[in-house]
C-alpha cells in the first residue's frame, strides 16, 4: 500500500473552477447507488468526489465525461453536495490543462457554437428557417414575448415540427410573440456543463445583449435546458428575464379555459419527466395537467417518474457525444414504455425527443411506439 499526499494545487484549481462542494461529502455512496450509469456499467461519482478532495484527479480519464448532470445524485445527497458542479469544475480544468482529453465530438460542437452560434453545424442565417412559412414577426417592443425555440428544433430538420407546433399554438391562443432569428445564439447551457465557461459566457453575453436591444421581457422556451440556464445562470451575467416553459404556459391556459380542443387524441400516452424540467426545476404537474385535459387521451400510470425519473442521457453535453449501444438510457426508457403498452411516449425536451427517436429507430420499434413532444400533441388536438 502506498501513501499518497494530497495535491494541494489541484484541490485549489477544482475549488476555483466551482467545485468546492466536495468538502461536504462524507462518502456514504448514495450518489453512486443512484447514478443511472450503474444500470448499464459501473460509474462511481463518490469516488470522483474523493479524488477531487485530495486533488488526485486523473484528467485524461474518460469517466469525467460520462455525467449527464441529471441531478439524481444531487437531489438525494444527504449532505447536499453539488456533485455535478464538481464534475463540471474538473471538465473546465481539462479544457485548459489536457485539451486532448476533451471528447472529439464535443470539440466539433464547440467549434460550431463559436462560429455559428449553434452546436449542429448549421449556418447562423438559417436559424429561423423553421418558421419560414409561418409569418412570425421579429420581436420588437410591441410583442408580448419572445419564443426561443432551442437550436435542436431550429437546425435538425426532423425536429422542426416541435417549433412549428409551438408557434401555431401560441398564435391560436392569441399571444403576441416574436422570434429573434439570426440575432440569437445557443443558450449555452450544455457547453457550460461541458466545462467550457469561456464559450458559455460569450454566447450568454451575446444573447443578453440581443434580448435587451429588442426590448425582451418575457421568454417562452421549448427546451428545459434553455429554461434552466436563462432562469438560473443568466441573471448573474446581467440578464434577468421572465422565463416560462411552454408546458407551464399551456397549463396556465388550460386552467383559465383559454385552450379549447376541437379534436381528440385517442392514444395511450406515458409521460416522461425530463431531468431539467422535473428534478432541476420542479415542473411536474403542468405537463400532466395539459395532457389530461386533451379529449380521448389516456395518460397511463407512470414508470420511474417525477423525482425518480430516469435520465434519457442527453444532458451534460452528452447529446453531442456517442453513447455505446447497450449503454443508452433512452433504450431502457423506450423498452419500459413498450412493456407498459403505451402507444406514445410523450415528453417536453428536445434532447429527450432526439434520444427517444434514435432509440426507437435502432431498436426497430417505429411501428410500436411514437415519440411526441407535448406541444405536438396539443397542436394536433386544438
Amino acid at each position: 500500500m502506498e501513501t499518497i499526499a494530497p495535491f494541494k494545487d489541484a484541490i485549489e484549481m477544482i475549488r476555483d473552477a466551482g467545485g468546492e462542494a466536495f468538502r461536504k461529502c462524507f462518502q456514504c455512496g448514495l450518489c453512486t447507488a443512484s447514478c443511472p450509469w450503474n444500470n448499464v456499467r459501473t460509474f462511481m461519482p463518490h469516488r470522483k468526489i474523493t479524488e477531487s478532495k485530495f486533488g488526485l484527479v486523473e484528467l485524461s480519464e474518460e469517466d469525467w465525461w460520462l455525467c449527464s448532470t441529471c441531478n439524481m445524485c444531487v437531489s438525494r445527497c444527504p449532505r447536499g453536495v453539488e456533485i455535478t458542479d464538481v464534475i463540471r469544475a474538473v471538465r473546465n480544468i481539462t479544457f485548459d490543462s489536457v485539451p486532448r482529453a476533451v471528447p472529439a465530438s464535443l470539440k466539433s460542437a464547440i467549434g460550431s457554437l463559436k462560429n455559428a452560434g449553434n452546436p449542429w453545424g448549421g449556418a447562423r442565417v438559417e436559424r429561423a428557417d423553421w418558421a419560414r412559412d409561418l409569418a412570425i414577426p421579429p420581436i420588437d417592443g410591441e410583442t408580448e414575448m419572445l419564443y426561443f425555440s432551442c437550436c435542436t428544433p431550429a437546425f435538425d430538420p426532423k425536429m422542426g415540427g416541435i417549433a412549428r407546433a409551438t408557434a401555431r399554438i401560441l398564435k391560436e391562443t392569441g399571444v403576441k410573440f416574436g422570434i429573434l432569428g439570426a440575432k440569437e445564439s445557443c443558450c449555452g447551457e450544455s457547453v457550460r456543463k461541458a466545462g467550457n465557461y469561456a464559450v458559455f459566457e460569450k454566447l450568454a453575453g451575446s444573447n443578453i445583449e440581443a434580448f435587451k436591444e429588442s426590448g425582451v421581457n418575457d421568454i417562452v422556451v421549448t427546451s428545459p435546458h434553455c429554461y434552466g440556464t436563462f432562469k438560473n445562470e443568466y441573471p448573474a451575467l446581467g440578464g434577468e428575464f421572465n422565463i416560462v416553459h411552454i408546458v407551464q404556459y399551456l397549463s396556465r391556459l388550460v386552467g383559465e379555459c383559454r385552450l379549447t380542443f376541437s379534436k381528440s387524441f385517442p392514444k395511450k400516452i406515458v409521460y416522461h419527466d425530463p431531468c431539467y424540467l422535473g428534478r432541476h426545476n420542479g415542473i411536474y404537474d403542468e405537463p400532466r395537467n395539459v395532457l389530461t385535459s386533451i379529449p380521448g387521451l389516456t395518460l397511463m400510470d407512470e414508470m420511474n417518474s417525477r423525482e425518480s425519473s430516469l435520465c434519457c442521457g442527453g444532458g451534460g453535453a452528452r447529446i453531442w457525444m456517442e453513447t455505446k449501444k447497450g449503454e443508452r438510457f433512452s433504450d431502457i426508457l423506450v423498452e419500459q414504455a413498450i412493456e407498459l403498452g403505451a402507444e406514445v411516449l410523450a415528453t417536453a425536451c428536445p434532447y429527450c425527443i432526439l434520444n427517444f427517436r434514435d432509440s426507437v429507430l435502432t431498436m426497430g420499434q417505429e411501428d410500436v411506439l411514437e415519440i411526441r413532444d407535448v406541444s405536438e400533441i396539443v397542436n394536433e388536438a386544438i
Binding site: F26, C28, G29, L30, T32, A33, S34, N38, T42, M44, H46, R47, T50, S75, R76, C77, P78, R79, G80, N304, R306, E307, S308
Partner: protein, 511 residues
C-alpha cells in the same frame, strides 16, 4: 436554580398551586406524573389520544435488554390509574396556558369519544356489532378494526372510543347499532367537546414525536412497492399483539421473508428531508429488530445498510457486537438506493457501493426503513401557543446547563420533545422535570393531595372463602393444576368469579 428559589420567594404573597399538569402520556409523561404524585402533588396527566402509553406502547421489545415493552410499561398504566392523585384526561389537548410559574391557568379542549368513561367496562361487545372498519392506528394501519374500539388490549383507560371521522351515525345519522348492545349504557352520541380551565402550579411538556414519513421522499418507494415498511410497522409485525400475532409476514404475499434489509438514516442526518440531526435510537432499534427477527426465524439473513453505527449508551456496544456476530447478519457500510421491485416475486432490489471499488445490486424479500424521530405539527402549534421556544430543528429550546427548563419559567420538558432520545434517557429526564416542578412548588407539597379512603373492613371469620381466579392466556406456560378440569370443578363451590381471557392482561394471575 437560583432563579427558581428567587421566584418562590417573590411569590410567597401569591399562593402557588400544588398541582402539576403533564402534557403527553407516553413513557416520559407517565414517569413524570408518577414522580410528581409521589412527591406530593396533584397531577393532571393529559393526552391527545384515547389511551396513555404513547409510542412505547407500540413497541414489541426495548433495546438493549430486549425486555417486553408492554410488560414494563403497563404496570405503570395501572399505577397511574390506581393513584387517586393522578387524573388521566384523554382525547384532550392544551389550547392555552396563562399565568406564571406557580400559578398557571390551563385551558384544555377535550374531543368527545362518545363513550362515557365512567360507565364503560371495555368489554368490547359494541365492537362486535359495529359494521364499519377503520384503519387501526395502533397497528400503523396494517390492519383494520371496528369504528368503535378499545385502542389496544392493555389500554388505560380501558374504554371504547368512537372514530368520529368514520362513524355512520355521526356523519350520516345512520346506524347506532352499538348503542343498545352496551349493557352499561355507556355510548352517548350526544357528547359534546368540552373546554375546561385547570389551575396548576407547573407544567411538564412530554408530547413526544412522530416518525418521519417516508412518503415525503420518493426515493424510498414507500407505498409504491409493497414490501417496504417503516421500522414502526415492522415493530407491529413482530409483536405478538400485532396484525399477524407475531408472525413475520411480508405485505405483498403474506410469506415469511428470509432476507431482510434495514436502511438507516431515513429522515435523519439528511439535507433533503430537512432533518439534519441524528435521531439517536435508530441504530439500536434496528439492531434490536435484527436480533428479534433471528429469534423468530434463525435462518433469516439480515443486512443493515448504514452510515455510522451509533451505539453510545450503556450496553449498546455489546448489543451491537452480539447482532454483528450472529450468523447471517451483515452490517454493510453504504447508503442504498431502491432501484425497483422484482415483478415476479415482489422482492425489492437495492443498489449500493462497496467502498470505492464495486457497485452491487442485491434483492431482499423485505426492506425496513429505519425512520427518524420528527417534531410534530401539533407540538409546533403547542409551543407557539405557550410561547415555548423551539430550536432550528423544531425541538424544545433549553439552556445548555438546565435541559429540562423551557423558555417559560415553570414549564419544563422531557423526552423526545426536547431531543431524540431512548426510553432510559426519557424517564431520567422525566424524573428530573418532576423534580424541578417539585422544587418550584415545594411550599404547596401535599396541599391538594387526596387521601386514599379504604372501604369499611368486614370480619369474614367463619364464612366460606369466596375465590376469584383470573387466568391470562398470554402466559405461554400455565401451572398444571389450572389446565386440569378436576381442579376447576373442586373450586366450584367457592368460586365467586372466574375469567379466562384470550387477550393479554396486565394482571397475570390473582388468587
Amino acid at each position: 436554580m437560583p432563579d427558581n428559589i428567587s421566584v418562590s420567594n417573590i411569590s410567597k404573597t401569591h399562593k402557588k398551586i400544588g398541582a402539576v399538569m403533564v402534557v403527553g402520556a407516553g413513557v416520559g409523561g407517565i414517569q413524570a406524573a408518577l414522580d410528581a404524585a409521589a412527591a406530593g402533588f396533584k397531577v393532571y396527566l393529559v393526552d391527545k389520544g384515547p389511551a396513555i402509553g404513547g409510542k412505547m406502547a407500540q413497541l414489541d421489545k426495548t433495546f438493549p435488554t430486549n425486555d417486553c415493552s408492554m410488560c414494563i410499561l403497563s404496570p405503570k398504566f395501572i399505577e397511574c390509574a390506581a393513584n387517586p392523585n393522578i387524573s388521566i384526561i384523554t382525547n384532550t389537548h392544551v389550547e392555552d396556558v396563562k399565568g406564571n410559574a406557580g400559578n398557571f391557568q390551563v385551558q384544555l379542549f377535550q374531543e368527545p369519544s362518545y363513550v362515557d368513561e365512567e360507565k364503560c367496562t371495555g368489554c368490547g361487545t359494541c365492537s362486535e356489532y359495529c359494521p364499519i372498519f377503520v384503519p387501526d392506528v395502533y397497528n400503523e394501519s396494517l390492519v383494520n378494526k371496528k369504528c368503535i374500539h378499545v385502542h389496544f388490549p392493555q389500554a388505560v383507560p380501558a374504554v371504547s372510543v368512537v372514530n368520529a371521522a368514520h362513524c355512520l351515525f355521526l356523519n350520516r345519522r345512520e346506524c347506532q347499532i352499538c348503542v343498545p348492545t352496551c349493557k352499561s349504557k355507556a355510548i352517548d352520541f350526544h357528547m359534546q367537546p368540552k373546554r375546561t380551565t385547570v389551575k396548576v402550579g407547573s407544567l411538564i411538556l412530554a408530547p413526544g414525536y412522530e416518525i418521519f414519513d417516508p412518503l415525503s421522499q420518493s426515493q424510498y418507494g414507500y407505498h409504491r412497492f409493497s414490501n417496504i415498511v417503516t421500522s414502526l410497522e415492522f415493530e407491529r409485525i413482530i409483536s405478538a399483539s400485532g396484525p399477524n400475532g407475531g408472525e413475520i409476514l411480508r405485505p405483498s404475499d403474506g410469506k415469511t421473508p428470509h432476507k431482510i434489509a434495514w436502511i438507516q438514516c431515513v429522515g435523519s442526518r439528511d439535507e433533503q428531508s430537512h432533518c439534519t440531526y441524528c435521531s439517536a435510537v435508530c441504530c439500536m432499534y434496528a439492531t434490536k429488530q435484527v436480533i428479534l427477527s433471528k429469534e423468530h426465524h434463525p435462518e433469516i439473513e439480515a443486512v443493515v445498510l448504514h452510515n455510522d453505527i451509533r451505539a453510545y449508551g450503556k450496553g449498546f456496544e455489546r448489543f451491537y457486537e452480539r447482532a454483528k456476530n450472529m450468523a447471517g447478519v451483515r452490517y454493510q457500510w453504504a447508503k442504498a438506493s431502491i432501484v425497483g421491485e422484482n415483478k415476479e416475486n415482489g422482492n425489492i432490489i437495492l443498489r449500493y457501493r462497496i467502498n470505492g471499488s464495486e457497485v452491487k445490486d442485491e434483492q431482499f424479500d423485505l426492506v425496513v426503513l429505519s425512520v427518524g424521530l420528527s417534531p410534530t405539527e401539533g407540538n409546533r402549534e403547542l409551543a407557539e401557543k405557550l410561547s415555548i421556544g423551539l430550536n432550528q430543528h423544531g425541538f424544545c429550546e433549553s439552556p445548555a446547563f438546565s435541559p429540562m427548563e423551557t423558555s417559560r419559567k415553570g414549564i419544563f420538558s422531557c423526552g423526545v420533545f426536547h431531543a431524540p432520545m431512548d426510553i432510559p434517557d426519557t424517564v431520567t429526564m422525566a424524573s428530573g422535570a418532576a423534580s424541578l416542578a417539585s422544587q418550584l412548588l415545594c411550599d404547596e407539597r401535599g396541599t391538594l393531595m387526596e387521601e386514599k379512603v379504604y372501604p369499611e373492613e368486614r370480619d369474614v371469620t367463619g364464612e366460606p372463602p369466596r375465590v376469584g381466579i383470573f387466568v391470562c392466556d398470554w402466559a405461554p406456560i400455565l401451572p398444571r393444576q389450572l389446565t386440569s378440569r378436576r381442579w376447576w370443578s373442586l373450586q366450584r363451590d367457592s368460586l365467586a368469579w372466574s375469567m379466562r381471557q384470550k387477550k393479554p392482561l396486565p394482571v397475570l394471575l390473582t388468587l
